[in-house]
């Protein structure tokens, strides 16, 4: 038993060295050949299939599953990539339990849906392992398009634009492409550096340049993009994190869950990564779960998620909640933070929460409080779009609800500018939706550029 387990405060090396790789191994190991055949045989090949309707990218799920069952995983992968070039990552991170698998008729019939996500991974893994490229660039059109952000929306847009023969430049603020796939997803959902492998697979089509360290509003300006390129696609993520609005929020040990997740994903040596002995995560979504579970996996002794509403209101799916529970995370409902308890050294020592309830449909504090000891507190109460950089760097773009307003084709209020992914209003903050928006915006851009016989 390593002594690190009992270190007070925030510390690394809480576990045996060998334990880390085990803890952060693949959450859903890939199906082997026989498992894939048996699972694919469970699909009823439904007419006008509900799963396909539920998929934001409208993958022809019955067809790709049937192709697996007939021994054609490569053809199956093409069916998937036709609709979703990031089908490999979506197979890993999609909350299938609230999308395709939730409406699978076998879920309805027997509570055991066809494992669509794992089958999708089976087919895409095989194609990607063979570096099977299904698409060729059309003849160069001479058109240049700027894509801001190399996340799922940007990559999907770039790939579709490249297919149409346009020259794409992706401007990425971070040192790596992938966006949340690279920086924002729990490590056990994307092992073996899959996010980068996928970026390579997508950009292998050619005609896509990625410039790193290029941040909008910093060294890139929207006005310049508009004047330099034939079209611009904005695919930025959410740069801000909602504040706790609780006393002591600035204490050492209080931080954003997304930063913790990002650092963890980029860490070469997980054992060196410090984590609190007692961790409290504030929030009720996927980010809260990812941060809490990974805190446990790093060796935190007590991890508690505190959410201000009830279980049924949590954005995290039932599956994610169960996953957290199975890893030893405690989820507490109906309490909101009022104060971070700070020790003499300015470090977080605990968190005080007030019990809440719904009264007349409104969330109210009940005055009663409870204090949990905590040497690390993660905020996971939502992210915000930082529009300043955008509008400071060019002509004003219309926002709605703090995010970019787009029409059904992804067009913004500016003529040559499209947008998709988490930065737009009305989305659901899912990778798969970002892919759909990027893809569809690319088609819209292509239509616009090829109108009047140009290009």
């Amino acid at each position: 038993m390593p002594e690190g387990r009992f270190k007070e405060g925030i510390a690394g090396e809480r576990l045996e060295a060998s334990q880390y790789s085990e803890n952060f191994s693949d959450l859903h190991p890939p199906l082997d050949h026989h498992e894939a055949l048996v699972e694919s045989d469970r699909c009823y090949f439904c007419y006008d299939a509900p799963c396909m309707q539920a998929c934001p990218t409208s993958i022809d799920i019955p067809l790709f599953i049937r192709q697996i069952s007939t021994g054609n995983p490569i053809g199956s992968a093409k069916t998937i990539f036709d609709q979703n070039i990031l089908g490999g990552m979506c197979a890993r991170v999609c909350p299938t339990e609230t999308l395709c698998e939730e409406v699978c008729v076998r879920e309805v019939a027997e509570g055991k849906p066809v494992q669509i996500g794992r089958l999708q991974r089976y087919a895409t893994d095989i194609a990607m392992a063979q570096d099977k490229q299904f698409y060729q660039r059309a003849e160069p059109t001479g058109r240049k398009i700027a894509v801001v952000g190399a996340g799922p929306a940007g990559l999907a847009a770039a790939h579709r634009l490249a297919r149409h023969g346009h020259a794409v430049t992706i401007l990425e603020a971070r040192p790596k492409a992938g966006g949340l796939n690279e920086y924002g997803i729990a490590a056990y959902k994307s092992t073996d550096d899959f996010a980068q492998a996928e970026v390579d697979y997508v950009t292998a089509i050619g005609g896509i340049d990625i410039e790193y360290g290029r941040a909008l509003g910093d060294n890139v300006h929207l006005a310049d993009l508009i004047s330099t390129y034939d079209a611009v696609f904005l695919g930025m993520g959410l740069g801000g994190v909602n504040a706790l609005r609780a006393e002591g929020e600035d204490a050492e040990g209080v931080g954003a869950a997304v930063d913790f997740i990002s650092v963890l994903r980029q860490a070469d040596d997980l054992s060196a990564l410090p984590v609190g002995r007692r961790v409290v995560v504030i929030g009720g979504g996927m980010t809260a779960i990812d941060a809490a579970v990974q805190s446990r996996l790093l060796g935190a002794e007590e991890v508690t998620i505190c959410y201000r509403r009830g279980k049924e209101h949590m954005n995290a799916s039932e599956f994610e909640q169960d996953l957290a529970a199975s890893k030893g995370v405690t989820i507490r409902h109906w309490m909101q933070p009022t104060r971070v308890v700070v020790d003499a050294g300015g470090k977080a020592a605990g968190i005080e929460l007030e019990y809440t309830a719904l009264q007349d449909g409104k969330l109210v504090g009940l005055g009663q409080t409870v204090t949990f000891p905590a040497d690390q507190v993660f905020k996971a109460i939502g992210q915000t779009f930082v529009g300043d950089a955008l509008n400071g760097s060019g002509p004003a773009i219309e926002l709605e609800g703090g995010r970019i307003r787009v029409d059904e084709e992804g067009r913004t209020s500016l003529g040559k500018v499209w947008a998709g992914g988490d930065c737009i209003f009305g989305g659901d903050d899912l990778t798969v939706s970002a892919v759909a928006q990027g893809r569809d915006a690319a088609e819209s851009i292509h239509r616009a550029l090829t109108a009047n016989g140009r290009a």
Partner: protein, 437 residues
């Protein structure tokens, strides 16, 4: 408690489950294991004439088709008759019969199509104390090229001739095993009866190629790059075998001829179905080769429990009970009208019934009603074909409901007639008109 003791042409066994002539009955070791497991009898794997035994291939002998879960659905083989010395087989048969006197011991035989050859082997078999012989006129590969097996079974005159030789040269009951690789199974059965056979057994295996290897472009099983047709058996052949059993059972010329049923029998239910169609007992091979001999426990208990539940006291109460209900198409009641009905509580909305009906049949099932995914039968279009029932993944979700006499058939706009009327008297039948004139 139901009595499932079997008496088949005088051969008695404690239950009607025999192992068919095949690899499981090739030697004493296997047969003793089978008897210990509870099998009622065996048909010892086919013996050939005295002399150097046949040889088998040394590569794969079996090919198969499977469901996606690897459940074996059909098996084929290119094995020949026993490749063991005749005297060894006879010695073992005698010993096993002596040790297991209550079990049926039938010996399968295949010798050249000459009377002398049969005259020579029959006394040797008789001397073992075996209960009867089965004439292998079915083996479709290897032996047929040498003028034996199916080469005899496909020529009714030869069947009659060989059966007669056997009946003249032995006191043992003769069971004639028929090949399905013919156009009309009644012809060889009639020939066997004319020759004096005590019973027929069927079906032997069906000529088949189970698969083609798409890398080597060779049929499976592949022996050094080549393959040949083998004999197909297992669950996949059961419907073919049942029809053939029924054809013989209801043929006026062979009615009453005892039948030992063979063909994909895997469970007690399969056996019961064959017996209902007229079989006196059931022979099993593929199921034992797939799961081992223990399956007979399920067969014995299942048959007995079902008979108890239904009040059948002995096998005679069930044998042939379905035979009178097998008829020719022309005698089916054309005034019988049934419509599919979908149990909405059981429906899981997969839409297979809709697309099967829409694409390939009668456009009689909705997929959307008032903008909601909903599958419902349109009675005015439904011809009662049963396709939706067969493609529905949920048992009893779609059922065929007969319309009572007098009820309006919305498809024809006419009330259902209470009168039985078949094609022979239908106005559209030219033959019926001729008959009426």
């Amino acid at each position: 408690m139901a009595d499932i003791r079997n008496n088949f042409v005088g051969i008695k066994s404690p239950n009607p489950f025999w192992l068919a002539s095949a690899p499981p009955t090739d030697k004493a070791y296997n047969v003793v294991r089978a008897f210990k497991a509870g099998w009622g009898g065996v048909v010892w794997k086919t013996l050939g004439e005295e002399g150097p035994p046949v040889v088998n291939v040394n590569g794969p002998r079996y090919g198969a088709i499977w469901g996606a879960d690897r459940r074996l659905l059909g098996l084929n083989n290119i094995e020949l008759i026993t490749d063991r010395d005749l005297q060894t087989n006879l010695r073992e048969i005698k010993q096993v019969k002596m040790d297991w006197p209550d079990r049926a011991m039938v010996v399968s035989l295949m010798v050249p199509c000459e009377e002398q050859a049969w005259k020579a082997i029959l006394p040797l078999v008789e001397e073992t104390g075996a209960d009867g012989i089965e004439l292998n006129f079915g083996c479709p590969h290897g032996m047929s090229e040498r003028g034996m097996g199916a080469a005899v079974g496909q020529v009714p005159e030869y069947i009659e001739m060989v059966v007669r030789w056997c009946k003249q040269n032995t006191r043992m009951p003769v069971i004639t095993k028929l090949t399905p690789n013919i156009t009309d199974i009644r012809k060889p059965a009639r020939a066997a009866l004319a020759g004096g056979t005590d019973a027929v057994s069927l079906i032997n295996t069906i000529n088949s190629i189970t698969a083609v290897n798409l890398d080597s472009f060779a049929p499976e099983p592949t022996i050094d790059g080549k393959g040949t047709h083998g004999g197909y058996c297992g669950p996949a052949v059961k419907p073919i075998a049942m029809n053939m059993v029924a054809e013989i059972a209801r043929d006026p010329e062979t009615a009453g001829l005892p039948i030992s049923a063979i063909g994909g029998i895997t469970t007690w239910r399969d056996a019961a179905e064959f017996m209902a169609l007229g079989a006196g007992n059931a022979q099993v091979c593929t199921a034992a080769m797939t799961y081992g001999f223990k399956i007979v426990e399920e067969m014995i208990a299942g048959l007995s429990d079902w008979m108890d539940e239904k009040g059948h006291r002995s096998l005679d109460d069930i044998i042939g009970r379905a035979t009178p209900n097998v008829t020719d198409w022309q005698y089916l009641n054309l005034n019988y009208v049934a419509k599919a009905r979908i149990d909405q509580d059981a429906c899981i909305k997969c839409g297979r019934c809709h697309i099967a009906c829409e694409d390939t049949s009668h456009q009689a099932i909705t997929n959307m009603v008032d903008g909601v995914r909903h599958f419902e039968v349109i009675e005015a279009e439904c011809v009662g074909c049963n396709l939706c029932v067969n493609v529905c993944p949920v048992e009893n979700c779609i059922t065929m409901e007969p319309l009572a006499a007098g009820v309006m058939d919305e498809r024809t706009g006419k009330p259902v007639s209470p009168v039985y009327a078949n094609w022979t008297e239908h106005p559209n039948n030219p033959a019926a008109k001729v008959a009426a004139e």
